[in-house]
């Protein structure tokens, strides 16, 4: 059975971009090991020659016209929408969402 060590948890948390404390590393190491131990029962299932299912109703490649359509679920006034979206952002400057430097 896979055991997730503190080091594994650290690596996963970093991949998931979540800062965690030493105490949390211990806690998640135990909890995630238990959950993974449970799902590993799938190893007992024979899936040779079984294909994967990702879409259950069988729809594939849904197309639409490559044309702009009027959004019906928002305000007609585009400036008002922009204002509302910016209001949800933590920081803005000159009508844009402000972020820290991506390249340093």
């Amino acid at each position: 059975m896979a055991k997730l060590t503190k080091k594994d948890v650290e690596k996963i948390a970093n991949l998931a971009r979540i800062e965690i404390t030493e105490k949390e590393k211990n806690k998640y190491s135990a909890e995630l090991t238990e959950i993974l131990g449970y799902v590993e029962k799938l190893n007992k299932v024979d899936t040779k020659n079984v294909s994967e299912t990702s879409q259950v109703t069988g729809l594939e490649n849904v197309y639409r016209e490559d044309a702009a359509t009027e959004a019906t679920q928002v305000d007609k006034d585009k400036n008002k929408n922009r204002e509302k979206l910016l209001k949800n952002a933590p920081a803005e400057k000159n009508g844009y969402i402000k972020t820290r430097a991506v390249l340093e």
Binding site: R17, I18, L32, E34, T47, T53, Q55, L59, A101
Partner: protein, 499 residues
């Protein structure tokens, strides 16, 4: 005045048509009920009394002018706080979205509004719909109206508790692994998880996109059908909605003059759902309900769904995998909780990556973090094949189980949950134990089939749910079958004593 919560949507709609009551009076009564009951139940994150009364006034005007919009015009209903509502705070039960105000409506919400319903508020839920009790709500826990020390189920626990205690006539929820059916069972109401793709997911804060299904809570299957007809159908904004499939209440046998013939039906009882882990008293109550169908002339057939045990394990790989990807968008930059709004010096936020890591650490609760990490792990290089790909193959086997079963029987009857509502705090310290409470409901999401939970006879005043599962797009049949039961029983009309 009459105690209006004892009436169905259909009956109330008739009263509104006959001007025996106005929508404003109805809405006022619902809010006076809320004022008495809500402090005990805590089913709502937001209440919208002012807006609701305005909508009710408009509805009354429409009726007076003979311009009624639909069967739910003027009827007060609530909405799980996972559906975006334009200019109204939408939190998904999370601190991360504690102040989020969407500039648009979810398609389902738009359809409800276009039908003239009065929206009374947004229901509490486990944060991000992760949970089976509402104890994972980042704000507070909802209480079960039948026993305030017990959970209402989850994740749509606020919706189920609101409907059960007469705070609105229906509620819109979502079901990813049982989040409508399980709380419906715990609170003694009727809850439908439709076929995947029957209802639009546009504007629903995503949990696991290949499993998420918006659906409906009401007191009876008849009311559920009325709501479903309004919210369902193809949506250009959600390419997984299925265009060719229509649900119409007029196709329901209960609506047509011909008597619905249960005696022509075969009902399957899967042995895997009646074995170890099931409370024997629940088994007894379900078998009593099955006996009623038998008396109507239905054939009862024992069947097997051999991969049932594996469906839950596959679910706890596929679902967190999709969760980790859907919750990746919460980065502290565009919207949602951000350390940029807090004291960033004190938290030593010095770079872009600090913004991501620290905002997510503080914005997400424990359960969301667990699922994000499990999902990240099963999708990561070296583990993808062993976990995720394997689970997707098992998904195929679960679908096959149902396809084979539906060659032998018309519908499948099971208990909705292995136990009645558990006590608040009983399972919250053990995440895996909580996951296991979804055992009878997740398979329907894995296979994309519809399922309804209806109340049967209670045990010690705690509701028990019976689940009826049908093939994809068989909502008309399963609602007809549950209606037949509700025509001759009264369990769905029982109301908790909250005086």
């Amino acid at each position: 005045m009459l105690k209006l919560i004892n009436f169905s949507i259909k009956e109330i709609s008739e009263k509104l048509d006959k001007k025996e009551i106005s929508s404003v009076e109805l809405t006022k009564e619902v809010f006076s009920n809320i004022k008495k009951i809500e402090p005990k139940i805590k089913a709502f994150i937001s209440l919208m009394e002012k807006e609701a009364l305005e909508q009710a006034k408009e509805s009354d005007k429409r009726r007076a002018n003979g311009k009624k919009l639909s069967a739910i015009d003027g009827i007060p209903i609530s909405i799980k706080d996972i559906f975006c509502t334009k200019d109204i705070k939408t939190t998904a039960g999370s601190n991360m979205l504690g102040d989020f105000i969407p500039p648009y409506d979810a398609t389902v919400v738009k359809r409800i509004k276009d039908a003239g319903a009065v929206i009374i508020g947004k229901n509490n839920m486990d944060a991000w719909a992760h949970g089976s009790s509402t104890e994972n709500s980042d704000f507070f826990t909802t209480h079960n109206p039948w026993d305030l020390e017990r959970v209402p189920g989850g994740s749509s626990g606020g919706s189920a508790a609101a409907v059960a205690s007469g705070m609105g006539f229906a509620s819109i929820g979502t079901d990813t692994g049982g989040s409508i059916r399980q709380p419906a069972a715990f609170c003694g109401v009727t809850g439908l998880k439709p076929t995947y793709g029957r209802n639009s997911r546009y504007g629903v804060i995503a949990m696991a996109s290949s499993l998420d299904c918006p659906g409906v809570f009401a007191r009876s299957s008849e009311d559920v059908a009325i709501l479903l007809e309004i919210v369902c159908g193809h949506d250009l904004l959600d390419s997984t909605t299925v265009p060719s499939k229509k649900f119409k209440t007029q196709n329901l046998n209960v609506k047509s003059s011909s008597k619905f013939k249960v005696q022509n039906l075969k009902l399957g009882l899967p042995k895997e759902y009646f074995g170890k882990g099931l409370d024997p008293k629940i088994k007894e109550k379900i078998m009593e309900a099955v006996e009623i169908y038998k008396k109507m002339g239905a054939k009862i057939v024992e069947i097997s769904l051999p991969n049932t045990d594996y469906a839950l394990a596959a679910y706890y790989i596929i679902q967190p995998a999709e969760v980790s990807s859907n919750l990746a968008r919460f980065d502290g930059i565009k919207y949602g909780f951000s350390v940029e709004k807090a004291d960033s010096k004190q938290l030593s936020v010095n770079s872009l990556i600090d913004v991501y890591m620290k905002s997510r650490a503080r914005g997400f609760g424990d359960e969301a973090k667990r699922r994000i990490m499990i999902g990240t792990y099963v999708l990561s290089a070296g583990y993808y094949d062993a976990y995720y790909k394997k689970a997707m193959k098992v998904r195929t086997l679960v679908c096959r189980d149902f396809n084979d079963a539906f060659k032998k029987v018309d519908v499948i009857i099971t208990p909705t949950t292995p136990t009645t509502a558990f006590k608040i705090g009983e399972k919250s310290q053990d995440p895996l134990e909580m996951y296991l409470s979804d055992v009878y409901t997740v398979s329907a999401n894995i296979a994309g089939i519809p399922g309804v939970s209806i109340p049967v006879e209670s045990i010690n005043n705690l509701p028990v749910g019976m689940q009826i599962l049908g093939p994809q797009f068989s909502e008309e049949m399963i609602l007809d079958i549950s209606h037949e039961y509700q025509k001759i029983t009264h369990h769905h009309q029982k109301v908790p004593n909250l005086e």
